[in-house]
Amino acid sequence: MSRVELQQVSKSFGSTEVVHNVSLAIEEGEFCVFVGPSGCGKSTLLRMIAGLEETSSGDILIGERNVTDEEPSDRGVAMVFQSYALYPHMTVADNMSFGLRMAHRPKAEITEKVARAAGILRLEDYLQRKPAQLSGGQRQRVAIGRAIVRNPKVFLFDEPLSNLDAELRVQMRVEISKLHSVLGNTMIYVTHDQTEALTMADRIVVLRAGRIEQIGTPSGLYEDPDNAFVAGFIGSPRMNFLPASVQPNGRLLAGGVAMESPVTAKLEAGTKLQLGLRPEHLDQVDGIGLEASVEFVEALGATSYVHAKLATGEDVIAERRLHRPKAGDKIALHFAPEAMRLFDSGGARLR
């Protein structure tokens, strides 16, 4: 168990810089998730922590030790890859014990550690099988087992669930979270799936184009995003953004409706802004109301998502739990003033 600290870390491939000056501290025992769209540099950052990519500038500390120039094997990290990266010619037991054998650990210790990891991951019956004889979920558990036996200071997960089907993904999500609470190690987890990030993380790091957009707890990012990118990326379906403008009397005009500004900052008349409203906040019975006509409805059983067009022409998505409107219906979308998130034209949050 160790804390991980990145100090102004950058990475360039040739002349292209893919990670820009990232500074970040991950606390001991924390489950930290790097999330962002593809190409945002999250995997590169993880691979830099692992030592699989060289760091162009800046320092990486694991447990107070500067490991920037150390070999992957000397950093005390274990990594679980998206493709599992199991050695196809070795049995499950040999796959899991490979690291210990490389370290010339005594046989008894190897057997004991493999048995313990197999127990945690319910792989006892498969120890003599080859990876090709296992299902996707089992292979991923072996990959995790290979990480566990080495008792690393830090676990690194690189989109470990992307190759699994939806049901298994949910199941493995729970298993990895449980594993974290059992082992208590520091874990860094990379994903492009914001649901994984929200459900698993103690803290989420949102990345875009090689820069950190915001760091925070799942509820912190969801409730209080620093910018329109984070607001749009976290939460599903994504937040609705409506163009808004400041009227001479200081009130806002959005979706054809005038409303009080939710922010304390003084707003200049005529300023163009973006109003963010989450679909799940548009189901109030009173409050500010937007007129809309229903275009179609996604019914998901317990809840449904209403795709509607405002009188002013913007598309919005609203969640409905009880009354499910039909396509063509005219409805009013009410929301509480506290649900409003306001961003300037550049996407920065106004508070």
């Binding site: 692992a50 699989l52 094997s73 050695y87 490389m102």
Partner: protein
């Protein structure tokens, strides 16, 4: 459906005729050699194409001992085994490096190795000979082993690089994180995973080394290899075709046996790289 099946079967039968002729044209020389090697000189002169009615192994015994094929055979075995082992080790190491490691001028180096594939052996015979003489490697087994390795290494490296390029990078990265040093990654991951390609390569190189005449003729001038020895038999005993064919059978036998043993690996090995399994 039934009609289509019949028509297809007919087409297959017609296609079998040229295939059969092709197979016969390959098999007949082997039959000719084996058959005549069992005849006496007189039997052969009386009837070249008939079956050996009184088969005798005298020709084999004579070829083996009188014509020194026993000694040549040992030379060939030493040179082939030595070169194949060296080629396998060097090409899998080089293929691993060129396919999986990042170092400066990696691509350039690969192109240089590839370009040596285009140079015919005959073009470099003179500098090659001078080098061998200069190094005192003429008439030594080690000289022949090194020569074979040098001449066949470009293709071997090319093939192993191509094969290893198809392996997922993560396997090497996982091994590195697991604490394996580069040579351990090579030994524990690249060698076992490269086995299909290495076996194919081993067989191809065995064929090349065993069947070579030109390089062996130059390098082993006093101490012949089997193929050079057989060629010499032809000149020495031009009227002793049965003796000559016995020599040919002795020379071909190891390769045929190797083929029979590794038949399945050879067929699956040729598909290696064509389709990713």
């Amino acid at each position: 459906m039934a009609g289509a099946g019949k028509r297809q079967r007919l087409a297959l039968r017609i296609a079998a005729i040229p295939m059969g002729i092709l197979a016969l044209s390959c098999l007949y020389p082997i039959f000719f050699a084996v058959n005549n090697s069992l005849k006496t000189r007189n039997d052969y002169l009386l009837d070249r194409f008939g079956l050996a009615l009184n088969p005798t192994f005298d020709n084999y015994v004579r070829a083996w001992s009188e014509s020194h094929l026993d000694q040549y055979f040992v030379n060939s075995v030493i040179a082939t085994i030595g070169a194949v082992i060296l080629l396998t080790v060097v090409s899998s190491l080089a293929g691993f490096a060129l396919a999986a490691l990042r170092f400066p001028y990696r691509r350039f180096l690969f192109v240089v190795i590839l370009s040596t594939l285009m140079i015919p052996v005959q073009v470099i015979l003179v500098p090659y000979m001078r080098t061998m003489v200069g190094l005192g490697l003429i008439n030594t087994h080690i000289g022949l082993i090194l020569s074979y390795t040098a001449f066949f290494i470009p293709f071997s490296v090319y093939m192993m690089t191509a094969f290893y390029s198809g392996l997922p990078r993560e396997l090497i990265e996982a091994a590195k994180i697991d604490g394996a040093k580069l040579l351990q990654v090579w030994w524990h991951v690249m060698i076992p995973l490269g086995m299909p390609a290495l076996i194919t390569l081993g067989i191809l190189n065995t064929l090349n080394c065993w069947n070579d005449i030109l390089i062996a003729l130059l390098t082993m001038q006093k101490n012949r290899t089997l193929m050079v020895g057989i060629s010499a038999l032809k000149g020495q005993y031009s009227d002793e075709i049965p003796l000559f064919t016995a020599g040919i059978v002795i020379a071909a036998a190891p390769i045929v046996i190797l083929y029979v043993i590794f038949q399945r690996r050879i067929v699956s090995g040729i598909a290696v790289g064509a389709v990713k399994g």
